[in-house]
């Protein structure tokens, strides 16, 4: 192997419940892993201590002669990418106005890049996953909310103040559900909780379905995964729920396609794990909602990196600039 191939980077995936680290090669492969539970550390300093320790261990274990390009961090919240500054995290207390790149850089003595988790996923898919064939692609993550990342002219586009890509707040109904983000935002219809609530409302009307049985008879155990498994085996209500989710997503995807005309949408996150029961109606509804000239030139693909998207994507911020 040449010296160039032995470059690697550290990737940090900061989740609300756990922090994952990995040593990632220049080819996007994971060479070693580390991590800790978010609840095991106290405050920003405790978090920095734990990351320094884990990163130090992974660095010490790296083959001699291999060079570390730096460390990338994906965080669940608002980030000023240019300055590696965390404005605020959605579900982690104590993380307001944190100069993360600066603090971590001082400790580790290496370049640090920080971005939000969806951009990090998009960066990873562009560098090493489903997005690597495209110059223009839009990434969606489906989970608690709907996140977006934009690849335009081969680069992540973050908007004028690093806050763009908020596809989940794009409206599909000007008179729709009110939230702190406006009216009719698509994630008010297709977020995990909203999918489950919609299903439970239907079950309460007495509709025949295998969903509740699959959840052991406990409404609180109904999840998008349980519903998607029922749909995969032909459960009518479950198929109807996924058709609705797909049509809501198709509405916003058609709008994004008219605006940006990407080559592809690349879809990841928990709900995307549903597979064909999501992707089949999604393709159909997008084609219904788009003019042929746009529909013909648009691919809709699942993300490839799965649970490793976070660490690989974070490392790619450094590996690919």
């Amino acid at each position: 192997m040449s010296g160039r191939d032995e470059r690697f980077a550290m990737g940090v995936d900061f989740g609300a419940t756990g922090v994952k680290l990995a040593r990632v090669g220049a080819d996007g492969g994971i060479a070693a892993r580390g991590g800790f539970a978010t609840a095991d550390v106290v405050g920003v300093e405790g978090w920095l201590d734990a990351v320094e320790r884990e990163a130090g261990r992974l660095l010490a274990e790296a083959p001699s002669g291999a060079g570390c390009a730096g460390i990338g961090v994906g965080v669940p919240g608002f980030v000023d990418y240019a300055n590696g500054f965390v404005h605020d995290l959605a579900n982690v207390t104590g993380w307001t106005a944190v100069p993360l790149a600066e603090s971590l850089g001082e400790r580790l003595k290496m370049p640090v890049k920080v971005d939000n988790d969806v951009n990090v996923m998009a960066a990873g898919e562009c560098a090493f996953g489903a997005g690597s064939a495209f110059q223009h692609a839009v990434f969606l993550t489906l989970g608690t909310g709907v996140g977006g990342g934009l690849l335009l002219n081969g680069q992540l586009y973050r908007g004028a103040f690093s806050m763009g890509g908020e596809i989940g707040h794009m409206s599909i109904d000007m008179n729709g559900v009110v939230s702190a983000m406006g009216r009719g935002g698509v994630e008010q219809y297709v977020g995990n909780r909203q999918i489950v609530e919609r299903t439970l409302r239907e079950l309460e009307t007495g509709r025949a379905s295998s969903i509740l049985e699959r959840a052991g008879g406990r409404p609180e155990a109904v999840t998008p995964k349980v519903i998607s498994e029922a749909a995969a085996e032909g459960d009518e209500l479950a198929l109807e729920i996924f058709d609705f989710v797909a049509d809501c997503l198709a509405t916003v995807m058609a709008s994004v396609a008219y605006l940006l005309q990407p080559q592809a949408f690349i879809i990841g996150g928990g709900v995307a794990g549903a597979g064909a029961v999501l992707f089949e109606p999604l393709r159909r509804h997008v084609d219904e909602r788009l003019n042929r000239h746009f529909a013909e030139r648009l691919e809709i693909l699942p993300a490839k990196l799965g649970n490793d998207a976070g660490v690989i994507g974070a490392a790619s911020l450094v590996l690919k600039g």
Copy 2:
């Protein structure tokens, strides 16, 4: 003046009813004008003959020593910008699959750039108008339909296949008005015809309003301009119509802001001429529909170049690359 200041370009604004030409200086100023009626020429060859004649005259009248950088053309339809190729024009027959840049370049022996009319307007506003202070801005034209142009990172962004920017087809209601472009596209609610039809429907219910009187009692003479004049003088129905138009536009603008986070929206075209009766409710509704962090960082401005946006913008394609 230095030689550099004496560079100029020819701008051609190809409208469905008339073709305007201008000799435009490096500062965006118009030095001389020409033009002809679209109905006076037959087919593509007739159009090229007329443009060659008018451009030749404007060139011959240019001061000796001044250098022509080339000719830019804005056309009302789908264009492959990279190749200066016209796919199709919406309201002009005979213009399908025309290699316009090539044909015009052979005749005039100078560089030719071709783009659609909305991108041309956006290019002009960026170079010499309301957009010149921004790196990230979204341009809207309000008229028969709603057109869009995107300035991202200081450059016009046209999408993967030159067809992006179609803000008019972005949906504001997933169950809304059906058209060839999908469901609920905003221009199905705020296009010139739709504004007038909405107004006439309300008048037919017997509502008190000065609108019909302003149109000489003739429903067919009601235009967005007549309605905006009534609104400016406090006519309740007219104000209600403009509030609705503003809210529809605000819905799509909030969605675009969440996706791209531009610094500004710049709004031109006939309906934008309504002034405060449009811009006041527009700002209010955008603020209602956007999170504070986005609303605070967003300007909404009228376009500056008015009726000259077409020729100045077309020339700017050449002057500014």
